[in-house]
């Protein structure tokens, strides 16, 4: 007994020593990163998917401008939250690279600053600038645009009808297991269904003149109800199925069990890598109006508390905004560039077809959007599963719930 206590005590003492080591080292690391900041260094946070290209770009910029650059990798799941938490403490970076739909959260938490692009603004596609616009000011410099579209297996079909109903009917001749796959999941996937929804004229929020969104919900009304009914029909026909998530949808397309899949460049890259013949087309309309997907834009934000605002602005506007760099980023990320000049020089056919299918609806970045996502997905799943006796009524309940969530 006695010996075991001593062993335990020694173990605890060792742990204590280790804890002290760990505790001691951390401030030291921070100190070394803080020291050269006085000479004008920039800290950039990027996630694991962008770290390689940004490390390269930072080196080139550093050579060009003589400024020390520190590119820090953050986990993609945490980078947004960590940025919001760390900027107020002064431990945040000068620049964070991410998706445009973070804008609303960043602005309402006061952690980013507006960026004046001047004449350079004209060089970016409208949708990419609209994406980073919040309350009339631009908060990020866009570099890449991504969206979903209809991906076709050219070996199975070569012509695509104009409407979604005809596309489903086309399978009577083709005879594949599924006429088209659109990934869902137990909690739904409103993002992948959005093109169908917009084709009924029911966008999620009203869009302002500059392309940004107002917090006025637009997905209700007759148009929304019609879409809800349509989802029920697609569920009945087995076209949509919550059991088919992203991985399963991809596999079905790879196995040739469906001629079409509504998806984005992330899976398209795997299809081309598997030597499939694919084309990328706009999603056919189901409700009569153009089917517009959400456009996601990637770009760089500047911290509200940066001590090197001048260099940070120079890096994001003059360097990341340049055609050359936009092309390099496009190549590395497999997404079309946000700069129109760079987009014109892209020679990747799939990338070009995706950006042609983009449309003008950025994914809303306003904080109200956060209250929409989950209600939206789970309601759509209920409609697809046929759980709702009256699709229009459950759609309206969803709209009411979202409204009450937005108004707190």
């Amino acid at each position: 007994m006695r010996r075991s206590i001593l062993t335990a005590a020694t173990a605890v003492a060792a742990t204590l020593a280790l804890a002290a080591c760990a505790g001691g080292e951390e401030p030291a690391a921070e100190e070394s990163s803080a020291a050269p900041e006085l000479e004008g260094s920039l800290t950039v946070w990027v996630d694991e998917t962008r770290i390689d290209i940004f490390t390269e770009l930072a080196e080139d910029y550093s050579d060009e401008r003589g400024i020390e650059m520190e590119v820090v990798q953050k986990a993609s799941g945490d980078i947004r939250e960590e940025f919001v938490q760390q900027v107020p403490t002064g431990e945040g970076p000068d620049i964070v690279v991410g998706a445009h739909d973070w804008t609303g959260e960043f602005v309402t938490n006061g952690v980013v600053q507006p960026i004046e692009l001047g004449d350079k603004a004209a060089g970016f596609s409208d949708v990419s600038l609209a994406a980073f616009t919040y309350d009339g000011a631009v908060y990020g410099v866009p570099y890449a645009v991504e969206n979903i579209a209809l991906v076709r297996n050219d070996d199975l079909v070569s012509e695509t009808p104009e409407t979604f109903d005809d596309l489903v009917a086309q399978n009577d001749d083709t005879g594949a297991d599924y006429p088209v796959v659109i990934q869902q999941g137990d909690e739904g996937d409103a993002y992948h269904l959005y093109p169908l929804q917009t084709s009924f004229g029911a966008p999620v929020f009203e869009q302002n003149a500059d392309g940004s969104y107002s917090p006025e919900l637009a997905l209700g009304g007759d148009a929304g109800e019609a879409f809800a009914e349509y989802l029920g029909e697609l569920g009945d026909q087995g076209v949509l199925d919550p059991a088919i998530d992203g991985e399963k949808a991809k596999q079905l397309f790879l196995d040739g069990k469906t001629p079409y899949m509504v998806t984005g460049p992330w899976y398209a890259a795997e299809f081309t890598a598997a030597d499939m013949n694919i084309s990328v087309l706009p999603v056919p309309s189901a409700g009569g109006e153009p089917a517009e997907p959400f456009v996601g834009v990637q770009g760089a934000f500047i911290s509200a508390k940066t001590e090197n605002a001048l260099v940070a602005n120079d890096f994001v506007t003059n360097y990341l905004g340049s055609t050359d760099v936009q092309l390099r980023l496009a190549e590395a990320g497999g997404r079309a560039p946000a700069s129109t000049e760079a987009a014109g020089q892209v020679d990747d056919e799939i990338m070009r077809q995706f950006s042609e299918a983009a449309g003008t609806s950025p994914m809303p970045s306003i904080p109200e959007m956060g209250s929409v996502w989950q209600f939206w997905g789970v309601t759509e799943v209920e409609l697809i599963q046929g759980k709702a006796d009256d699709p229009a009524a459950s759609w309206n309940t969803m709209v009411e719930n979202i409204e009450s969530a937005i108004n707190g």
Binding site: M1, R2, I5, A9, V12, A13, L16, A17, A19, A20, C21, G23, G24, P27, E39, G40, G66, I67, E81, V84, V87, P88, E105, V107, T108, N109, G110, V111, P114, I115, E116, G118, D119, D135, D186, E187, P242, A243, I244, A304, K305, E307, N308, A309, L310, V311, N313, D314, T317, N318, E368, M369, G370, S371, V372, Q374, V378, E382, N401, A405
Partner: protein, 528 residues
Amino acid sequence: MTEVSLGGPAGRGGTRGSDSHARRTGPGWYVKIVLMAAVNALGLYGVWTAVMVGSWGVAAFLALAVAAADWVYFSRRMLPAKYLYPGLVLLLAFQLFVMLYTAYVAFTNYGDGHNSTKVDAIAAISMQNERRVEGSETFPLTVVERDGELGFAILRDGEIVVGDAETPLEPAAGSDDGARVTAVDGWTALEFAELVSRSAEITDLRVPFSGDPAAGGLRTQDGALGFVAAPVLVYDAATDTFTNTTTGVTYTPNDHGSFVSADGEELTPGWRVGVGFENFTAIFTEDRLAGPFFQVLVWTFVFAGLSVVTTFALGLFLAMVFNDPRVRGRKVYRSLLILPYAFPAFLATLVWRGMLNEKFGWINEVLLGGAEIPWLTDPWLAKFSVLAVNLWLGFPYMFLVTTGALQSIPGDVLESARVDGASRWRAIRSIVLPLLMVSTAPLLISAFAFNFNNFALIYMLTGGGPHFEGAPVLVGHTDILISMVYSVAFDSGVKQYGLASAVSLLIFVIVGLISWLGFRRTRTLEEL
């Protein structure tokens, strides 16, 4: 419970006084000196680095901890403390601090929109609301310097103009390359390196565009592009208000950390303030939360209770079966049964989620020949699946502890029961179970507490779903309190750290209360 008795025997040792380790100079004494030197060195290093980065709280804590360590381990009288000290320090650093901080956050409105201090909020509002004057030009700009004062020079209508913080832009002599000013008489143009070192000064500088202050100020963000900006909202420190320069509306701070106008319009961001018990009452009084909250509370108790009962029952049954010497190959069976315990629960739960998929899951497709049973999407089946998976994950632990407890029951007690004519069932009921409960009851209580907060299982298996149809918050039939908090406070788009902390405290109180009641009951068991 033997492993948690660190304090007991140490207390006994304290009475030995003159025989204390502190007086002997054997090899152990040298080891002690070396260890203490290391602790001191590391501690002082920690203090020094904490001071260097200005973390005064950390520095003070480390300094006190090192001083206390020296006092405890070099004093002759502090024998019990010698054993307790490391644990106490760790308890302070990793438990007490976290609890106190959580308690502090629970009483604030910390979350999205109230992320920092008032000073930061004022700075952010001012920064976000200084806008480029509508329809104004942008200019290639040159940063110039005179007697240490910075100024901006641009070409306005082909004419070189220069100005600084006090003097509006005025024509000056100099030279240009057609787009940009290259030199101004009486001023020196700054190189890029100089711009970088005076970055903050340059980005803060506003040169009045003309004598009329309403025309705005020339500013630059990157030292090369100049534009004319004017504030839309102006902060007045004397009255602590923001005023809109075009509409004249004033915004005054309210007691919830926001600037609001008379008609209720709120400026973002706000700042973090104390809100008293609001977070605690919100969960009961807010209509959107209260309904689902009680449903979830009931399910949490049912889930935690049934999880303990089912895992214990199965574990005990198997332990009894494999404790019988007539079973052959017991060791092999026992090792196999412990396997689920050896898999990481995270991974196992994800695998189960896949296997229970309605359409493609192994259970439906292979075992049940293509039946489409909604294991995870039907409210009752989902509850059943959660309990079943938890049973699979949890029974090996119960099997282990009951096996140990069974083996420690002396054989002669059972034998005498048999001699007295007790049936097998009677012996189990009257001898085995009561003796077993003495050692396992505390473990059952801790298992209950663990399952009460079994976030990983719920999050990984069902994500709380299926969702309550039409409910105003995103909570589902299998959500337990902790996963409900997560979904309301983090997953709903707007993060509410204050609310999340408040509910965590409530959960802490509930679990603490139940454990306390449970342990009080087990004391009566021990008196058997």
